[in-house]
């Protein structure tokens, strides 16, 4: 399985076969608490890095999920709206949000690796 890369907005990205899968990090789901609702982007939408493309809500609060890279949304996790708790139980697996065809894979290379993200997340605590 390809290594995860991380954004400063607490998304993870996994590039496999030319398609990037995106979700929110374990740090993010812990901070958010029990996820009760997700709103996913439309398949086919062209997005720029930093665009707000999805929403994740816990009992307490709503948070935006941003596109960590530019590209086209090719698929969303259709199981998630009916079982949003997967974001908590398996954030980097079954709790993925959407897949994106990168406009430029160099944008993924520029994201943080696991160690750099850990340091970043700790600095925000």
């Amino acid at each position: 399985m390809a290594d995860l890369k991380f954004s400063k907005d607490h998304e993870w990205v996994r590039l496999e076969g030319g398609v990037a899968t995106v979700g929110i990090t374990d740090h993010a789901q812990t901070a958010l608490g029990d996820v009760v609702f997700v709103d996913l982007p439309e398949v086919g939408r062209e997005v720029a890095a930093g665009d707000s493309v999805a929403v994740v809500e816990s009992v307490k609060a709503a948070s935006d999920v941003y596109a960590p890279i530019a590209g086209k949304i090719t698929e969303v996790n259709t199981a998630l709206p009916d079982d949003p708790a997967q974001v908590n139980s398996d954030p980097t697996g079954a709790g993925w949000f959407f897949r994106i065809e990168p406009a430029d894979t160099a944008e993924i290379d520029a994201l943080m690796d696991a160690d750099a993200y850990q340091t970043f997340a700790d600095s925000q605590a």
Binding site: G33, D34, V36, F37, E57, V59, K60
Partner: protein, 369 residues
Amino acid sequence: MAETLLETPLASLHRELGGKMVPFAGYAMPVQYPAGILAEHLACRSGAALFDVSHMGQAELVGEGAAGALERLTPADVKILKPGRQKYGLLTTESGGILDDFMVANLGDRLFLVVNASRKGVDLPAIEAVLPAGVRLNRLEDRALIALQGPAAVPAVATLAPAIASLGFMGVTSTEIQGIPVLVSRSGYTGEDGVEISVPAGQAEALARALLALPGVSPAGLGARDSLRLEAGLCLYGNDIDETTSPVEANLVWTVGKRRRTEWNFPGAERVREELDNGPKRLRVGLLPEGRQPARAHTPITAGGAAAWETVGEVTSGTFGPSLNGPCAMGYVAREHAADGTALDLLVRGKPLAARVAPTPFVPHRYAR
């Protein structure tokens, strides 16, 4: 602008229990424990949850004429309150807004008051300002307040203090729990049976530990307190009621005493009377969105559908109700849109979310009789 947060006498216990501390009304308070808001909420509905509400203001009014003095600031009938009984009421402003909501208990020789943390700095000086000679307000800053809520709460605490089992809803008594002198009222802010226990600050932690050791009792934070009270249709001051909302608009006319509605001698009586006669322009209502998406405070409420959007109100509190297993909210809408069942749209992030006006509580109250 780093302001120092106040702590309650249970602060170190919260940290020991893994509470996630957040600022609330000037205090560091646990928003949740490791179990999380959802689990804490459900634990309260099925068993018993312990909440630290020591940030709230406690005070007593002592002296001949204390009830009459308090009535100068509230439309509640305080004089009718019998010893050992408590009631919910509103403090009103001269322009008919709500200064705060509060609990008042008749302890025989004095009145016992509980007011909101965020408003105690406003309420207590306002009360002091109207006191006649011979009536004194004592701030009880050396007392903590612990709420034990849920169907298992009274059966559990009654094993330590049997007198509590015979209290009716809104009954108040002084008793002892494991040798600690406490003032107990059978009331709360969750819609469940339960008690609120006023205790000397120095013995609060010992009491909390004794209660947490009882079967079925777990700690719950402000997050669960908020979702529980919203499912129960109870107002949060600063969200659902404030100095701009009147008791009539807030659908809290039941807190205006019958006698007070003949005297009209409370602050803002003119507005209350006018709105009772002619109907208020807007009303606080319950709202049930379709689907699972919550609509939060300040979400605009529209009517007329996509063809002719017209803003008719605003959500004041909204969340996902764990017991409801769905979203619920309350807000103010223009009176012509306030009937139960009225279809409205909530503009969440610019997109209309279909909702209906619904009666509250969303989850039935289960108070003691």
